[in-house]
Assembly symmetry: none
Homo-oligomer: 130 residues x 4
Amino acid sequence: MDARILHVDPASPEPIYRQIAEQLRRLVAAGQLRPGDGLPSVREVAAAHAINPMTVSRAYSQLEAEGVLERLRGKGMAVAARDNRGGSLAARMQLLEPALREAARHSRELELPADRVLARLRQLLGEDER
Amino acid sequence: MDARILHVDPASPEPIYRQIAEQLRRLVAAGQLRPGDGLPSVREVAAAHAINPMTVSRAYSQLEAEGVLERLRGKGMAVAARDNRGGSLAARMQLLEPALREAARHSRELELPADRVLARLRQLLGEDER
Amino acid sequence: MDARILHVDPASPEPIYRQIAEQLRRLVAAGQLRPGDGLPSVREVAAAHAINPMTVSRAYSQLEAEGVLERLRGKGMAVAARDNRGGSLAARMQLLEPALREAARHSRELELPADRVLARLRQLLGEDER
Amino acid sequence: MDARILHVDPASPEPIYRQIAEQLRRLVAAGQLRPGDGLPSVREVAAAHAINPMTVSRAYSQLEAEGVLERLRGKGMAVAARDNRGGSLAARMQLLEPALREAARHSRELELPADRVLARLRQLLGEDER
DNA sequence: GTGGTCTAGACCACG
DNA sequence: GTGGTCTAGACCACA
């Protein structure tokens, strides 16, 4: 598999290992990587982006612990077959709650009109990822 | 001024000093804090939220360096006289942007329907603060 | 806090970071470490057992990701206040299922009488941990 | 002999070669495999479970080194003639011990009531093999 | 070939 | 003071 599906920005304040982990999480969530798909090896990714293998390994290990990836021994990592298709709608709404509360608090502090705020969020929700 | 206008969440990944600084920036932009208004002392804020005075001081100093606040000798900090008329609507919308983008990103990752998300935010915007 | 509550055996096949993580998990589960209790710092544990700080950090980070520990910024790690008292009985029985199936399969392969097997498990369940 | 008497779980943390070796050890101890009985060839086992022949070979070699199996030139592996009368009941209980301890440890960690655990194991012991 | 573990040592952000 | 991140390089287990 091609290590170039991943992008790394060493200048970003976001840790490299997390950049990798979150990209993979999104690629899996979006279905661009499907259960069973193999991932580029730790060494490939490390070489392609001139970073330390351990940094890549850290991202992979974290996703494995979460059940997003699984180890195929001797053959690297792959997207997990996962019985964990997302939770119920209510459960997922609950996970969104903190971000919404944060946005609402900021809106009040800025004394912004609700309709403008909602219009902008609607716009953002319509955009393609990234 | 009351130290309780500030909210602090020690469990948030966002550094505490930045939580404070950004809240003040928003309150000034919205005109809820006006030029000349005094701020609660470092000690008051620290005591009210059980955090380190140095953390509060760091937030104040940063805003002072930016010209948002100014030090009134012997009287603590106050909102700077400058061009701190409450920001324009567009400017304030800009300050809200990061929170909205965060919420939108989470919504997409959770594959939540836009109408449900917008309905919930509308509800939160209608509520009284805390 | 005292770094000596933790034991480390470098000769064990079990990775050091996991030895530490599992000990802490047990100490928390058993109530010997209570919510809010502070843990010895990464550097203390590392020095006390002559291991690398990163190895200790790895154990702490993993437990933080699981919600067992939480970071008190600038003050080290502590046992989380955790809203996560275990799931329902049925859910927890489900988590035990693999281990029971494994034991049952071994019993059949060894052609052992069920009553002897059950008697031995009853005995083991009655023992104090460790 | 049928390669399907062996079970392999590639997802288990236990190395595959050891899964195979320990199963064979138990089958011999219980007398389900008797001195002189031939074993399925490395290729058969590998093909039946979609694993690497080298992995199967490693399990066989280890058991040969222990004297549990012996290599019949040109005829593959077989259970060694030795003192491989099926082990005594006590000896076989000993081989079951690790699995039982594992199950007991999980039960305690999950704080499950002993009677529920024992009832479930009794049920599993009564079932026909897969 | 694969990933996992550990070390020694550096630098950074936060409080 | 705290933990977090990253590197370079070593060694090991597994397939």
